[in-house]
Subunit: 347 residues, 2 copies
């Protein structure tokens, strides 16, 4: 039975902000002033300032029939932090803007913020501002992440050179398979009240979809090893799409090897169950939030010794194009067929 819910109008905009941001403590030296003025104020005298922003819309980016609000809050923060790590930086602050429709109560926003708060605690982030308003059509979440990096350590998309090694963290395709699984169980549950979804043996896929973790550990371990990637990007739209971004911006080509693409066992089982091509899922699935980066060839041993990093290929001259060498030794041209919320993909 649903517990008693509190209408948001009993608190109003400012009351709601005060209520949900209470207990967020400022942790970063760079944060001068947080929530509660016209602007947040920060101080970054010795580093570059990094800013990234994401807009998440109900019905496009998330489906509240199977995404718990706490997980949604956590993920909304995580995907923004991922962009800062993808520049080889450290996230420090976020602003959170919400559009809230009438079907949400104070308790729902509390759940959302409990996820936001957890992500802030785990990743050492200060919540410094935002905007809260009503919405006529579902939940709208806009988060901006602010961070820093010393100038000489910033890894953009445009620094890859021929012969660099192409590396990827973690494994790919699992979040996409998790989404397929959640959608399948949603369809199966339609109209049933006591439906228990069947996730046995697929917990990893669900976790990858609902609670992705930005790869702070990879950025930190690269730093410890003294490695600055020549280029880096996070994999939100699928490996193919992101690799084409790096190659396009760096004016290089690439060769990656099908048999080196890291894929988890559960991802493979699920692809089999659904009759999907596993490599397509890994190349184009999206929402992995792993890091894709390039390092000079001579760092081969150092980078390979870092846990969770796999070398999947190398950078070539631009004229050679971008291709994957399949298991049977053929070349398959890479195309961006990943997540795209606005129709046709670029190619």
């Amino acid at each position: 039975m649903e517990e008693k819910l509190t209408e948001i109008s009993t608190l109003g905009e400012f009351g709601l902000i005060d209520h949900v941001t209470k207990g967020f403590e400022l942790k970063n030296e760079s944060t001068v002033k947080g929530v509660g003025d016209d602007c947040a104020v920060m101080h970054y005298p010795d580093t570059e300032v990094l800013v990234s922003t994401d807009l998440l819309l109900e019905g496009i980016h998330f489906d509240l029939t199977y995404v718990p609000l706490k997980h949604l809050g956590y993920k909304a923060v995580a995907v923004n932090l991922s962009d800062i790590y993808a520049m080889n930086g450290t996230p420090r602050q976020i602003t959170v803007s919400l559009g809230i429709s009438k079907r949400f109560a104070v308790e729902h926003i509390e759940q959302l913020y409990s996820g936001i708060r957890l992500a802030c605690e785990i990743y050492g982030i200060d919540l410094v501002g935002g905007d809260t308003t009503s919405s006529r059509q579902g939940l709208v979440i806009s988060i901006t992440a602010i961070g820093d990096a010393p100038k000489e350590k910033i890894a953009t998309r445009s620094g890859a050179h021929p012969n660099d090694l192409i590396c990827v963290s973690g494994d790919l395709g699992a979040a996409y398979m998790g989404l397929q699984l959640l959608e399948r169980e949603k369809v199966a549950s339609a109209g049933q009240i006591d439906f228990t979804p069947d996730f046995a043996g697929k917990e990893y896929l669900i976790e990858r979809q609902l609670k992705p973790e930005p790869r702070r550990d990879i950025v930190q371990n690269l730093d410890k090893a003294g490695i600055i990637p020549t280029s880096m990007i996070d994999i939100s739209d699928g490996l193919s799409s992101e690799l084409l971004h790096i190659c396009g911006k760096s004016h290089v080509g690439c060769r990656i090897y099908e048999d080196r693409i890291p894929i988890d066992y559960q991802t493979a089982v699920m692809a089999e169950e659904l009759g999907m091509n596993l490599v397509t899922a890994a190349l184009n699935g999206g929402e992995d939030y792993e890091l894709l980066f390039t390092v000079p060839l001579h760092l081969h041993e150092q980078v390979e010794s870092i846990p969770g990093i796999k070398i999947i290929g190398h950078v070539t001259e631009e004229k050679l194009g971008c291709a994957m060498i399949t298991r049977d030794g053929n070349e398959m041209q890479l195309r961006a067929q990943g997540f795209n919320h606005l129709g046709k993909n670029e190619e």
Copy 2:
């Protein structure tokens, strides 16, 4: 007749971003890297960094039946810059995130961006990033503004002291009256094809509603006069609400004088026409985007000599509360009854 429109799917997300951000040149020394990577990169070695964000939703904040997309783009930027000026800072960069529903074509987004571009040109702002996605919920606009201010010049909401003078720029209530006028003509036009709205003699009200200008000039003139406000806020939710913010954060009270509140002639005429209380409109109307600030008493002459600034009252001890002295000499307690998109106002 509507000209031929281009479906957004023909460009895709990345194609659309490239298309509409083409020709935005980077103007600020603090901008290191703009659109096109995981993050924007900025450099602010000598100043504090200011960040502010606003979320604008169709059906809540704007009505496209009478708001031209170019004006909407301009206003969306303007209201964000206003927050940076309200800290006595200088805006330098913005990120623009859009959620676009299916009824919008490439040409519509071009119109929106022509307004964004114009505001960026006039106020010297670099567009450095954003996020673009489809929307099921009409047009969603989320803008984050980034700027700077020397530490010693930042004006927060919390620095007002008893005996400080309370100052306001421009005039109040006109944007609200413009909104009433636009709504009236929308109702009058319902179902008519050749309807010509009657705005004669009310152009100022329409302009204040559709094309507000953030008060960079006031911030610059205060600086030239060597004046640092003890507190400052921009008036987006109405004079009453903003004054209560300053008094609350500064732990002070205030007295303002009804006969000193600056109101334009057109605002007064319109209030009369609509049978509305003029002072209520000026106190609670919202969307003025004027600056409300306090200065030490001894700066009376200097501040009064700056064009467009009016002294409307003074700060008191907290225990005296916040009140307006009416024309007939009575004290009326100030209450926040301004714009609030989430139900009940704080009091």
